[in-house]
Amino acid sequence: MKKLNLLLYLAMFATVIGVFSACSKDDDDDDNNNNNNTSGIVVTTNISQNTTWTTGNVYVLAGRITVLSGATLNIQPGVIIKGQAGTGANATALLIARGGKLMAEGTADQPIIFTSVADEIVPGQIESPNLDPDIDGLWGGLIVLGNASISASNENGDVNEVQIEGIPTSDPNGLYGGNNDEDNSGVLKYISIRHGGTNIGSGNEINGLTLGGVGSNTIVENIEVVANQDDGVEWFGGTVNVKNLLVWNVNDDAIDTDQSWGGTLDNFIVVAPGGHNYELDGPEGSFERGHTIQNGTVVCSDTEYERSSGDLINVDDNSIVALKNIYFTGIEEGQQINRVTAAGVSFEGIELNVPAGDLANYVNGEVPAGVTAGGSPKANAGVFGWTWASNAGKLAGL
C-alpha cells in the first residue's frame, strides 16, 4: 500500500513538472529582415577604395554603408540610391567617415536622389510615382563626418571628437570632429534626400543630412530634404557653409545646429516641419563660435498634409547665432520665438506674417527690434525649380 502511494505521488510530481515546462516553450522565431524590391545594385560592404556609382543606375544600401577614411565615393548625376527598410540596428544609411570623401555632383536636370527601396522612382524622374511626400522613416539618411573643430565636452571635459547620434558607439566610424577647419569631405550638389530618418531609440535618430565636424572646403549646395522622420539638416560643429537648402515635411526640426557650427546657411525654404523650424543650440564645450542663418522663407503650417511646426525659433540661453532676413508665414496661434533674451542671438530683418497688433503674441518675451510684423518672402525660390517640392507646387507664391 505504501509503495503504491509513493509511485502515485511520484507520477503526480512528474506531471506537475511536465505541465509547467510544457507551457513555457515559445515558437522558433527566425530573424526578419526586410529585403524587398531590391532591383538595383546592392551594396553590402563598406567602401574602402575609390568607387564610382554611375549615371542611369540604382544602388541599394543593404546596411549602414561607410565610405572609410582615405576612400572617395563618386556618385554621378542622376544616380538613385535606395536604402533598405529597417529600424534600430537594422537601419540603413550612407556614412562618410572622417577622411573619406563624397563627390556627389548632381545637376538641376539630373539630381542625385536618396530614397527608400519602397520608392518606385527610376532615373530621370523627380517625383516619386508611389510614395507621398509625407511618408517618413523608411530608411536612415546621409551622414557626412569630418575633422573640423566642434565645441563638445564629455566626462573628459572638452573633447575634439565625439560619436554622431544615430550610430551606436560600437561603430568607431561614427566619430567626428578634429582641428582642421579647412577639411574637405567632398562636394554635395543637387541632392534630394527623402523618406528617411528611421528610429534608433528615443531621441536618437538619423537626420536627412547630418553634417558632423565638416570643414569649410566641403561644398554643400542645392539640397532638398523631404519627409525625414528626424531633423531635416543637423550641423554638429564644423565650418561648412550651405547654400540653397529646402526642407519639406520633416517630422522633427527643420534646421538644427549644435556644438558651435561656424558656417553660414544662405538662401533656404522650410515648409511645415513637425518639430521646431529652428532648433539652434549653443556650444557644449568651452570653445565658442557662432553661425549665420540668412535669407530664408519659412512656411509654418500646411493644410494639405495637416502639419504645423513647433516653435518659430528655438534657441538656448548660450546659443550664438545671427538670424538675418527671414520671413515666416502660415503662422498659427501658439507658435512663438523662444528665449529672445539669449545674449548671443541677434535678430535682423525677421518678419512675421501676422497683424502688427498681434506680434507680441508670437514672441515669448519682449519683441526684439529686429522682429517685425508683415513682410514678404526672403528666399530666392527660383533656384529650387529642380526640387520635388517645386514640382509639387509647394513653392507657389514664395
Binding site: 502511494n5 553590402t44 540596428a89 522633427d252 498634409y305
Partner: protein
C-alpha cells in the same frame, strides 16, 4: 480542477495512520569535529531495543508507547543517558543535537533530560565552532523556533548578511558580483540571468535543512568565491512524518485595494506565472520580410499583420488586491526493514514534497527616475537635469514552486534525487510624465507621457542526483553529484508608447519621446554540474587527519535573442484623441489615414542582438586537514581550474553586411585560463569555548555571459544601453579579463551555553583587475555603459557579532535575547587614468579629487540587530529586527555624469508566531514590514551640490498574517 484532485490525493495519502508503535529518532555529532558520527550505539535501557547510527549520524528506533531512558554510547566517547524519553503511539519523538565528547577522566557519563535536548541549538553551534571555515548559519530547528516562512527571512538572521529587493542575499556588503549562492552545494543559475545570486524568497523553510554562509574559502569549493558563499541544503530525510498546509495574507495600505493601481490585460494563465501565448510574437513577425506598405504586401496583409499584435498599449487603472500565499508540504521517512541475510543493514526511504504559490501586488505612486549632469564650470556646483520621469508603477508577481525529493539509504550508503521547478511571472504597467531639458548636453528638449507595459516570465528546473558512500573501517568516503538545470527568462512584448507634446500637436516624435516600440527578449540556459569528492581519514603526526580530493566539471550554455519592432506611420500623423488605449484602433492602421500605422523590423539577419555562449570549467583539488599541534587544526589545499568561455555573436558592422571589417565569432574562445587557488586555514583552540582562526586564499571573479559578448541591450524605460565588453573603443581594447582576489581573514570567537556567543573578525582582500560598469564617454545623446576592467582594488573590514540572553540582568528575562552584528568595510579602487582625468576636468572649486575611490557595490557598513522573545513552552516567539546597509556607490559616474549612490534603507520589521492547540499543530504568524515607512532611493551626488534623485520607490508598510497547520 486537476490540481484540486492531486491536492486531495496527496492529503488523503498522508492521513493514513501509522502502526501502534512509536518512534525515537535523532542525530549524533562528534564534539571535536562537529561532524556526524557513524556507528554510534543507541539503546533503550532495560530493553533489547537498539540500533546504530547511519552515515548521516542518524538513528531510528521503534518502541511501544511509554517512557524510556535512552543510552547513546560509542567507544572512547562519553556515554549520554537521556531520561524521560516519551514514546507515543504513531508518533516520532525527536532527540536532535546529541553531541558526544571524547572520554575524559572526570566524566564517562552525562545525564540529561529529553526536554533539555529538545530545546538546544547546540549541534549547529558545534558545527560552526569546529568547522574548517568561518561559517555562520541557521538550522531547521532554529527556523522552526522563529517561524520564518522563506529562506530569505531566515537568512537575514545570519551574521554579515544583507537582503536586497527582499530576495537577494549579499554577504559582508559586497555586491552581487562577489556573492555566490548554491543549492545543495551545486552551482545553479538564478531566475535573473543578470545576477550571480539566487533569488531566495522562493524556498519555503519547511524544506530547508539548513542555510550556511561560508566566509572563507577551502579548496573543495568553486573558486569563483569572494565575499561569501551561501548554501541552502534541502531536507532529504524528514525526522517525522509531516504534512503541513499554510495560508498567508499581506496587506499594504498604500498598495492594496487601491483603485489607482496600474495593470493590463494578460493571458488566462498569468495567475500561474506564465503567459498562455497572449503575448507571443505573432507567427508572421518571426519570418523574413514582414508585411509593410513597402514590402510588396497587399494593404490587407499589412492591416492583418498589424492587427495580429495585441492591441493593448495602455496601462489601465484597476483596484488592486492583497498579497496572498499558500503552500503545502509533506515528507516522511519509511523504514524498509533489514535486508535478508544481512541483518545489520537497515534500509530507509525518505521523501519530501512541496508546492507553494504566492502573488504579490505592488503599486508605487510617485516613482521618480532622473538623469542628471554636472556643469564643467568649477563654480557651478548644482547639477542640472537632462531627463526626469515621474509617474506610477503597478506590478503583479506570481511565484510558483514545486520541489520533490526522494532518498534511499542503508547504513553506509545514501542516494538521493531532488527535483525542483520554479515558475515566476511578473507583469508591470506604468505611466510616466517625461521632461527632457534641451539645455543639457546632448539633449534635444521635449515633454512626453509614456505608457509602459511589460511581462517577465522566468522558470527554472533543476535536478540533483547525489550519492554518498562510506567505508567506516577504512575511513574512505565518496560523495558524487550530478545536477542539470534548465532555465529560461523571457520578456514577451515589452511595449512603450510615448506621446510627445508639441505646442500645437500631440504626436509620436522619433526625435523626442520616440515612436511606440515592442520588444521580445528570450534567454535559455542549460547548466550541468558533475562532481566527485573523496576523503580518507588517516593519522598524521599521530593525530586524526583527513585527506580530501576531488574533481568537478561545470558546463553552462546560454542562448539569447532580442527582437525589436518599431511602430511607423505611413504619412502624416494626426491624433484627435492622443490616448494610448486607442492608438491601435482599426481606423489608425494602414492603409487608413491619417496615422497609417505599420511595423518596421529592427532585426537584421544575422541579428547582432542574438548570441550564444558557453563555458566549461574543469577543476581538481586536494586538501589535507590535520592537527600539527593538539589545539591547532590546519587545512591546507590547492585547487586548479581550467576555464574556457566561448561566444557566438557578431558586431553591428558584421551584421549590417560588412563581413570584411565586421567581427563575427563562431563559438570562438573569449576567455581561457588555468589558475591555481591555494588556501590555508588555521584554527587554534584557545580554550574549549574560544577559537582563533586565521586564513588565506586566492579566488577569482569571472565576467558573465552578457558582459563578455557583443550584446547591445536597450532598456526601454530608462533608455540606457548596455554594450558587451567585446566592442573596442579608443580607451578600451575589448579584452575583458577575470578579477583575481587574495583573501585574508582572522577571527576570534567565544561560544557560551544556550546558544550565546561573541565573535570579532577582521578581513582584507585585494582585487586584481576588478570589473565595473563604465559609462561610454563618446556618446552623449543616449546613455551607454560597458563593463570594463578598472584599476586595482582592495578592501578591509571588521565584523562583530554577539548573541546574548538577558538572564544576566534578571533571571526572568532569560526568554529575551538580543543579537546583533555589525560589519564595517573600507574599500578603495585605483581609478584608471581616463576616470581620474575626467573627474579632474570637472573638479569644482574647493574640491580635491584623488586617484582612488570606493568600490562600486560595496557598502561601508551592514548592521543587523534583533531582540527576540522565545517561549517554546507556550509556543510563542516574537521579535523586532533591524537591518541596514550604508550608503553605497551603485553606478560610477565621473565627469559630466555624477556618481549614483544607493541610500541606506532602514528596515525595521516585527514578527510574532504563536502555536496553538493540542500538540501545537496550528501556528499563526503575524508580521509588520518596513515599520519606519522608508523609501528605496538612489541619489546623484556631486561636490557641494544638492543630491538629486536617480530613482525613488516607496514600498510602504505592510502587515501580514499567516496560518499553518501541521497534520
Amino acid at each position: 480542477m486537476r490540481k484540486i484532485i492531486w491536492l486531495l490525493l496527496i492529503l488523503g495519502m498522508g492521513l493514513q495512520t501509522m502502526a501502534q508503535k512509536g518512534k525515537i529518532r535523532g542525530t549524533v555529532y562528534e564534539e571535536a569535529t562537529g561532524e556526524s558520527l557513524v556507528g554510534v550505539t543507541v539503546f533503550l535501557t532495560g530493553t533489547t531495543i537498539g540500533t546504530t547510527t547511519d552515515l548521516d549520524g542518524k538513528f531510528s528506533i521503534d518502541a511501544d508507547p511509554g517512557s524510556y531512558q535512552a543510552q547513546i554510547s560509542y567507544i572512547s566517547f562519553q556515554t549520554i543517558l537521556i531520561n524521560d524519553v516519551q514514546v507515543k503511539a504513531g508518533e516520532v519523538t525527536m532527540l536532535e543535537n546529541l553531541v558526544l565528547k571524547e572520554v575524559s577522566l572526570e566524566l564517562s557519563e552525562v545525564v540529561v533530560s529529553a526536554e533539555v535536548i529538545r530545546r538546544t541549538e547546540s549541534a549547529l553551534l558545534t558545527i560552526k565552532k569546529k568547522s574548517a571555515v568561518i561559517l555562520d548559519g541557521i538550522s531547521s530547528s532554529k527556523i522552526k523556533l522563529t517561524g520564518d516562512a522563506t529562506a530569505v527571512e531566515a537568512a537575514k538572521r545570519v551574521t554579515g548578511v544583507s537582503v536586497e529587493d527582499g530576495k537577494y542575499v549579499y554577504v559582508r556588503g559586497l555586491g552581487d558580483r562577489y556573492s555566490k549562492t548554491m543549492l545543495n552545494q551545486v552551482d545553479i543559475p538564478g531566475l535573473d540571468p543578470d545576477r550571480n545570486s539566487l533569488q531566495m524568497d522562493i524556498f519555503p523553510t519547511n524544506l530547508i535543512d539548513n542555510i550556511f554562509v561560508s566566509k572563507n574559502y577551502t579548496a573543495d569549493m568553486p573558486a569563483d568565491f569572494t565575499g561569501g558563499m551561501l548554501n541552502i541544503e534541502t531536507k532529504d530525510f524528514p525526522e517525522e512524518k509531516s504534512i503541513s498546509v499554510s495560508l498567508g495574507l499581506t496587506y499594504n495600505p498604500s498598495m492594496h485595494f487601491n483603485s489607482d493601481w496600474l495593470t493590463y490585460e494578460g493571458g488566462s494563465t498569468d495567475m500561474l506565472g506564465f503567459d498562455d501565448g497572449t503575448r507571443a510574437l505573432p507567427a508572421r513577425a518571426g519570418k523574413d520580410n514582414i508585411p509593410t506598405p513597402i514590402s510588396g504586401a497587399s494593404d490587407q496583409e499589412v492591416f492583418d499583420f498589424v492587427t495580429s499584435f495585441d492591441s493593448q498599449l495602455a496601462a489601465k487603472q484597476k483596484t488592486s488586491f492583497m498579497d496572498y500565499s499558500m503552500g503545502i508540504s509533506m515528507g516522511n521517512q519509511i523504514d524498509l526493514g533489514k535486508k535478508k541475510g544481512d541483518p545489520a543493514k537497515k534500509r530507509k526511504l525518505g521523501y519530501v514534497f512541496s508546492l507553494s504559490y504566492k502573488t504579490d501586488t505592488k503599486f508605487y505612486d510617485e516613482v521618480i527616475f532622473g538623469e542628471y549632469q554636472r556643469y564643467i564650470d568649477p563654480n557651478l556646483y548644482e547639477m542640472r537635469y537632462a531627463t526626469i520621469q515621474t509617474g506610477q508603477l503597478g506590478e503583479q508577481n506570481v511565484l510558483l514552486g514545486a520541489l520533490g525529493g526522494l532518498a534511499y539509504k542503508t547504513d553506509h550508503s545514501k542516494i538521493r534525487l531532488t527535483l525542483m521547478h520554479l515558475q515566476n511571472g511578473e507583469s508591470r504597467a506604468g505611466k510616466f510624465y517625461i521632461v527632457n531639458d534641451g539645455e543639457a548636453v546632448g539633449q534635444s528638449g521635449y515633454r512626453a507621457s509614456s505608457d509602459n507595459i511589460e511581462y517577465n516570465q522566468r522558470s527554472l528546473t533543476n535536478g540533483l542526483l547525489n550519492g554518498l558512500h562510506l567505508w567506516p573501517t577504512t575511513g574512505w568516503e565518496i560523495d558524487w553529484r550530478i545536477s542539470p538545470t534548465y532555465s529560461t527568462s523571457n520578456d514577451p512584448d515589452i511595449r512603450k508608447t510615448a506621446f510627445t507634446y508639441q505646442p500645437l500637436d500631440t504626436l509620436f516624435s522619433g526625435g523626442a519621446g520616440g515612436n511606440p516600440s515592442r520588444i521580445w527578449r528570450s534567454l535559455e540556459e542549460l547548466n550541468n554540474t558533475s562532481k566527485i569528492d573523496l576523503s580518507k581519514k588517516h593519522e598524521l603526526m599521530k593525530r586524526d587527519a583527513r585527506l580530501k580530493f576531488g574533481l568537478s566539471h561545470i558546463y553552462k550554455q546560454r542562448d539569447y535573442e532580442i527582437l525589436f519592432f518599431d511602430m511607423q506611420f505611413f504619412g502624416t500623423q494626426s491624433w484627435t484623441n492622443p490616448d494610448p488605449a486607442h492608438v491601435l484602433d482599426a481606423e489608425n492602421i494602414y492603409p487608413n489615414k491619417p496615422n497609417s500605422i505599420y511595423y518596421q523590423s529592427g532585426n537584421r539577419n544575422p541579428n547582432p542582438n542574438t548570441y550564444a555562449s558557453n563555458i566549461n570549467n574543469f577543476a581538481a583539488y586536494i586538501s589535507e586537514e590535520f592537527n600539527p599541534l593538539p589545539k591547532l587544526k590546519t587545512i591546507v589545499g590547492v585547487r586548479i581550474e581550467y576555464y574556457v568561455q566561448k561566444h557566438t555573436g557578431r558586431d553591428q558592422t558584421y551584421a549590417s553586411g560588412d563581413i570584411i571589417n565586421g567581427k563575427n565569432l563562431d563559438n570562438d574562445k573569449v576567455l581561457e585560463s588555468t589558475d591555481l587557488f591555494p588556501s590555508v586555514n588555521l584554527i587554534y583552540a584557545l580554550s574549549d569555548e574560544q577559537n582563533l582562526r586565521i586564513s588565506y586564499s586566492r579566488t577569482i571573479a569571472r565576467p558573465s555571459f552578457k558582459e563578455l559578448s557583443f550584446a547591445q541591450i536597450i532598456d526601454p524605460i530608462s533608455n540606457r544601453i548596455f554594450n558587451g565588453s567585446l566592442f573596442t573603443y579608443s580607451g578600451w581594447d575589448g579584452n575583458l579579463t577575470e578579477t583575481r582576489i587574495n583573501n585574508f581573514d582572522i577571527r576570534w570567537e567565544w561560544y557560551l551555553p544556550a546558544g550565546q556567543m561573541y565573535s570579532v573578525s577582521g578581513f582584507y582582500k585585494t582585487f586584481d583587475n576588478p570589473i565595473e560598469l563604465v559609462r561610454i564617454p563618446e556618446q552623449q545623446t543616449s546613455t551607454e555603459y560597458q563593463p570594463r576592467n578598472v584599476g586595482d582594488g582592495q578592501l578591509y573590514g571588521v565584523e562583530l557579532e554577539f548573541r546574548k540572553d538577558l538572564s544576566f540582568i534578571a533571571i526572568a528575562l532569560n526568554k529575551l535575547s538580543v543579537n546583533g552584528n555589525l560589519t564595517l568595510v573600507k574599500s578603495s579602487i585605483d581609478m584608471t587614468d581616463t576616470e581620474y582625468n575626467s573627474r579632474k576636468t570637472y573638479e569644482k572649486a574647493g574640491e580635491s579629487i584623488e586617484n582612488n575611490r570606493v568600490m562600486a557595490g560595496q557598502s561601508p557598513f551592514v548592521v543587523n540587530a534583533g531582540i527576540t522573545y522565545s517561549d517554546p513552552d507556550h509556543g510563542l516567539d516574537a521579535g523586532v529586527f533591524y537591518n541596514v546597509k550604508g550608503t553605497t556607490l551603485s553606478i560610477v559616474g565621473a565627469g559630466l555624469f555624477p556618481d549614483i549612490y544607493a541610500d541606506p534603507f532602514n528596515s525595521l520589521n516585527f514578527s510574532l508566531n504563536k502555536r496553538f492547540g493540542k500538540d501545537k499543530r496550528t501556528m499563526i504568524d503575524f508580521k509588520v514590514s518596513n515599520l519606519l515607512n522608508e523609501k528605496v532611493v538612489s541619489h546623484y551626488r556631486s561636490y557641494e551640490a544638492e543630491d538629486q534623485v536617480y530613482s525613488s520607490l516607496n514600498p510602504g508598510i505592510s502587515v501580514g498574517l499567516g496560518v499553518s497547520y501541521q497534520f
